[in-house]
């Protein structure tokens, strides 16, 4: 049948016989109909019928739109799963062609594409969506902050393998370093930025010391506790931190000492360009973009240096590390403090962007989101973090704007309420589909002659973890 040649285009797996499309389509359709039928039966009482208490007693109302929508979603979803996910995994016994570098360099193209888009992003939005540019650039700033945090945590969790559930503590330290130094000492953003990084790094070191001997679950629990302790201290040390009221009036960043604005002596006045509030967003965007790039650059450099290699080795085997003469204590502390330093930078950026900080912004949920970004992205993968951050933070925003869902589910349907549900679902799906994260290829950092990639799919089965 002609259908076999059409699916064999993937390259190396030519020897594996592909199942015929027709039977697969038929089976997929049959299973989708069954699933939709089950939904129809189960959903009839929950979705289609509804009782309401009215003056004359219970009144039965119907919601056929909702019921049909649910059936439709299940049908389409099941069909898509059958055709594109289960079929591939099942029929070819999970053997995917190994990416050996000979094929199309997807990751490289994606990386460069995203980078170029990130560079032109503010102009893209101001030109293409002039009405909503502020909203979109603001979202880009938010996503970029999480990318930076993800990259920072990736050093600790992805590279050094130290499961840190309290990463947000260092983000808070950075934010409060700036907030409080602005309040008490009159520091500006650029003065406070290195200070925030330094303080966060020292806290990373201080918190790192007691947990040096811990691993895995125990480390996770203790770091979780530390994260909470810092938040609770910020909350209760009212005289100094303002407690639940937080710190407000945090100054905006300046351009070499000049502010953006309309006033005389502002940057706009200086260069003679009329002020537009969007400039402030664009400026903030480029600051966080620069900070994120710095994080990435430093991480990539370090991975090639002995210290970065030692982190990766530490994740795999501490005893082997020590017997190769590596000081595991210093290695761990350096991972903790460098990761914390980037969170500190991001924190002081957060403070300047918001202009107001309070302990509420630094709850465990933040740590969980950052960790989820790192894990979903594929531990240790830089581009994976980017994709995961865009998907998760962007996804939550998209949810806010899905007004058409109200047409289906009724006017009081509030999609953001389902955020965590969808979040969890997405996580389960990804972990089933790609248990080692979206980008699970570890790029070797050492090569003798030419570069070549070996997919970790090949490694995974031999590894046993």
């Amino acid at each position: 049948m002609a259908s076999t040649s059409e699916t064999a285009g993937t390259g190396t797996s030519g020897a594996v016989p592909q199942p015929e499309r027709e039977t697969r389509l038929a089976r997929a359709l049959r299973e989708s109909v069954i699933a939709a039928g089950l939904t129809a039966i189960l959903g009839f009482f929950f979705l289609a019928l509804r009782t309401e208490i009215e003056t004359g007693g219970l009144v039965l109302s119907t919601r056929w739109g909702l019921w049909l929508a649910a059936i439709g979603i299940v049908f389409v979803g099941r069909l898509a799963l059958n055709l594109f996910v289960f079929g591939r995994l099942g029929a070819t016994t999970r053997r995917k062609p190994a990416t050996t570098g000979a094929g199309f360099p997807v990751a490289k193209v994606l990386t460069w594409g995203l980078l170029i888009f990130a560079i032109v992003l503010p102009f893209f939005f101001t030109i293409v969506f002039p009405q909503r540019d502020r909203q979109y650039i603001d979202l880009a700033i938010l996503i970029m902050t999480y990318i930076m945090l993800g990259w920072g945590l990736n050093i600790v969790v992805g590279l050094a393998g130290l499961l840190d559930l309290g990463y947000v503590a260092f983000y808070a330290v950075g934010a409060y370093s700036f907030g409080l130094s602005a309040q008490y000492l009159g520091f500006g953003f650029w003065t406070a930025l290195p200070l925030a990084g330094l303080l966060a790094a020292s806290w990373g070191m201080i918190l790192g010391f007691p947990v040096l001997r811990l691993r895995g679950d125990y480390l996770a629990i203790v770091t979780l506790a530390f994260g909470e302790i810092i938040r609770v201290v910020l909350l209760n040390w009212t005289d100094f931190t303002g407690g639940p009221n937080g710190v407000s009036g945090i100054p905006k960043p300046t351009i070499f000492g000049w502010e953006l604005g309309r006033r005389d002596g502002s940057f706009n006045d200086l260069i003679g360009v009329p002020y537009d509030p969007i400039q402030r967003f664009i400026f903030l965007y480029y600051i966080i973009f620069g900070l994120a790039l710095l994080t990435n650059f430093v991480t990539m450099r370090l991975r090639r240096l002995p210290i970065g290699r030692a982190w990766e080795a530490l994740r795999e085997d501490e005893i082997a590390c020590r017997s190769l003469g590596i000081n595991t204590r210093n290695t761990k502390l350096s991972a903790f403090s460098i990761g914390a330093m980037f969170a500190g930078f991001a924190g002081s950026f957060f403070a300047t962007r918001q202009g107001f900080i309070s302990p509420e912004s630094f709850t465990f949920l933040e740590s969980a989101i950052i960790l989820a970004i790192v894990v979903l992205g594929g531990l240790g993968s830089q581009i994976g973090v980017v994709i995961a951050a865009i998907a998760m933070i962007g996804g939550i925003e998209v949810l806010r704007n899905l007004d058409f869902l109200k047409a289906i589910f009724g006017p009081d349907f509030e999609p953001t309420q389902y955020r965590m549900l969808i979040f969890g679902l997405a996580m389960v799906i990804i972990m089933v589909w790609k248990p080692r994260g979206l980008v699970s290829t570890r790029e070797p950092t050492a090569t003798l002659r030419e570069k070549k990639r070996i997919s970790s799919d090949v490694v995974a089965q031999g590894e046993g973890h």
């Binding site: 002995p306 290699r309 030692a310 990766e312 080795a313 795999e316 085997d317 005893i319 082997a320 020590r322 017997s323 190769l324 003469g325 590596i326 000081n327 595991t328 570890r442 070797p444 950092t445 050492a446 090569t447 003798l448 070549k452 070996i454 970790s456 090949v458 490694v459 031999g462 590894e463």
Partner: protein, 241 residues
């Protein structure tokens, strides 16, 4: 003879309350191959790890190259020129062969790297073919070669090998033992070798110790021990000859 390169005196090691070594005295002189044989659970690996400071002995003394290393932290001991191919090999599985070898060389001046790499590839040509392969996908024999090669990359004066022949085909065992002999003869590398494969180990070694239950019960030249009836009965019957 001159001062030994490594000597342990009355070394007692415990795991919690369990005693694993009950006063071990061994000497390894520079340029020697010394082997230690003994039954499962005798304490051979424990002695190796104790020399490396993980765990530290509770009693006794370990002297290496004229320095008391008894209580030094592991990474400092390893920096004095001791390298170990530990039990279980402990190769970094996500890293490639080349990266594993680089890890071994992490304390060495990078200018030696290329020539050292050539040297270990000469010893184990198989590794050169597999240079980009991940540790996790290598076969048992390849892993063992890599573990030894990684240890050699740190330019050690003393090489500690824990059961290099474990689980390997006779041909590969021979290859590895030949490599050890070659290193010893051509470069004067001192080797302390723990082995179950008593026949090969005793033939290779200049001197040997037998450990029973955390104590040294016999010592002598390799040939002497090979000739002894009780050694043959306990460690060689049905063995590799």
């Amino acid at each position: 003879m001159s001062e030994p390169l490594l000597s342990t005196r009355d070394v007692h090691t415990y795991y919690g309350k369990i005693i694993a070594l009950r006063g071990v005295d061994i000497d390894v002189h520079a340029g020697e191959i010394v082997t230690m044989i003994g039954a499962n659970g005798a304490g051979k690996s424990t002695l190796m790890m104790t020399i490396c400071g993980n765990p530290h002995p509770r009693q006794g003394q370990i002297v290496y190259d004229g320095r008391d290393i008894t209580m030094m932290p592991t990474h400092e001991i390893m920096r004095l020129g001791i390298a170990q191919s530990p039990e279980g090999r402990r190769i970094f599985r996500a890293m490639t062969v080349l990266e594993n070898l680089q890890m071994g060389a992490s304390l060495v001046d990078p200018k030696y790297f290329d020539s050292d790499l050539e040297k270990v590839f000469h010893l184990f040509p198989r590794l050169k073919e597999r240079i980009k392969q991940r540790g996790g996908t290598m076969s048992g024999g390849e892993l063992q070669m890599l573990a030894i090669a990684r240890a050699l990359m740190s330019r050690p004066k003393l090489l500690l090998l824990d059961e290099p022949s474990l689980g390997l085909a006779p041909l590969v065992v021979k290859q590895i033992f030949d490599a050890i002999r070659e290193l010893n003869q051509s470069e004067g590398l001192t080797v302390f070798l723990v082995e179950q494969n008593a026949f090969h180990a005793l033939k290779l070694a200049h001197r040997a110790y037998v450990m029973v239950n955390g104590k040294i019960t016999m010592s002598g030249t390799g040939a002497e021990l090979l000739g002894r009836e009780d050694v043959r009965a306990a460690y060689l019957e049905g063995g590799g000859h």
